[in-house]
Amino acid sequence: MAPKNVIVIIYLLTLTGIIIWLGIIFLAPYLASESSPLAGFIYALFSPTCHQIPSRCFFVFGHPLAVCARCLGIYAGFLAGTLIYPFLKGFFSPSLPRIKNFILISIPILLDTAANLFGLWKSSEWLRFLIGLIWGVILPFYFLAGFSDYFIRRHKISLEIHHKK
């Protein structure tokens, strides 16, 4: 398959994946409100990647979301970043963001996490969400570029082998 097609497929899979992921996060409290046993499974599914402390979660349908406000922000930011990716980068010239940009965008989440951890201040759920959102936006620019690079390189290597034969 041509690398361009593979890159488009990677993009569409990533976009679909993050939409489903966010959908499941909201599905958990809905199922819990309907007393479905699947709710417990979904909450358990997210427990390895999130502490799920209820006081740090948004409540929907009377139940906490499957992840905390910060994680929700990161995933929502990832979706936003994925949506704007083709307009900022184009599909076919994968390049990683500059280190300076990554460090700048990581400062709020690092500061807020450290401050909350050491009890310097207590952020509201909305602030946690916003900070996660800001950080999440840059992540697809790594994710998509990294996987695109992998498949482009594989394609080049297979072409080289083909030419040598």
Binding site: G17, A32, S33, A39, G40, F41, Y43, A44, L45, S47, P48, T49, C50, H51, Q52, I53, P54, S55, F59, F61, G62, H63, P64, V67, R70, C71, I74, G81, I84, L88, K89, P94, S95, L96, P97, R98, I99, N101, F102, I105, T113, L117, V137, I138, L139, F141, Y142, F143, A145, G146, F147, S148, D149, Y150, F151, I152, R153, R154, K156, I157
Partner: protein
């Protein structure tokens, strides 16, 4: 050219073990998915350290995927003895919550009473499989970020390594 690349197993094992253990310990796991991304970054750093040649973002993605798989298995094992502690902590949280808020969100209490976090062995295995997929994606992300942060720049172009370049900054997020 490929034979010059360092083995990915040891860096992935170290990064995965660190990420999995930290994700599985109650209280320490408050950094959520950041531990897995951090584990991927650690693996990428260790891979770069042992590599005589510049590595690409794709290499970071692959070592990150392996890191995620190992982290998911490690977290699964580590969390078993801590399950009782975690459940107790969650129940204490709801008690604290009720002290601060006059009106409890509807259904929160019953959510705990119904044992929302309890799952059968079969569900646990299905959960582990899904965790492997999720952790792999997060690990890959960490691996790519790690390559970007710690990676050596290619000495010459066209030597079969880096195709993904650092952006010149004209179209940045």
């Amino acid at each position: 050219m490929n034979d010059q690349r360092p083995g990915m197993f040891v860096p992935a094992l170290i990064g995965g073990a660190v990420a999995g253990i930290l994700s599985g310990i109650p209280f320490v796991n408050c950094l959520c998915c950041l531990w897995i991304i951090g584990g991927g970054m650690l693996s990428a750093y260790l891979l770069i350290k042992d590599s005589p040649m510049p590595l690409s973002a794709g290499d970071g993605a692959i070592v990150g995927i392996f890191t995620g798989i190992i982290a998911a298995v490690m977290e699964f094992i580590i969390s078993i003895p801590f399950k009782a502690v975690t459940d107790k902590f969650m129940r204490n949280m709801i008690d604290r919550f009720s002290e601060y808020y006059e009106e409890m969100p509807r259904g929160l209490e019953s959510w705990f009473q119904e044992g929302a976090l309890e799952t059968s062995f079969l569900w646990a295995i299905i959960g582990l499989i899904i965790s492997v997929v999720i952790f792999s994606a997060l690990g890959a992300l960490g691996g790519i970020i790690g390559i970007s942060l710690f990676g050596k720049k290619p000495a010459q172009k066209g030597q079969g390594s880096v195709d993904v370049h650092k952006d010149t900054g004209d179209r940045q997020p």
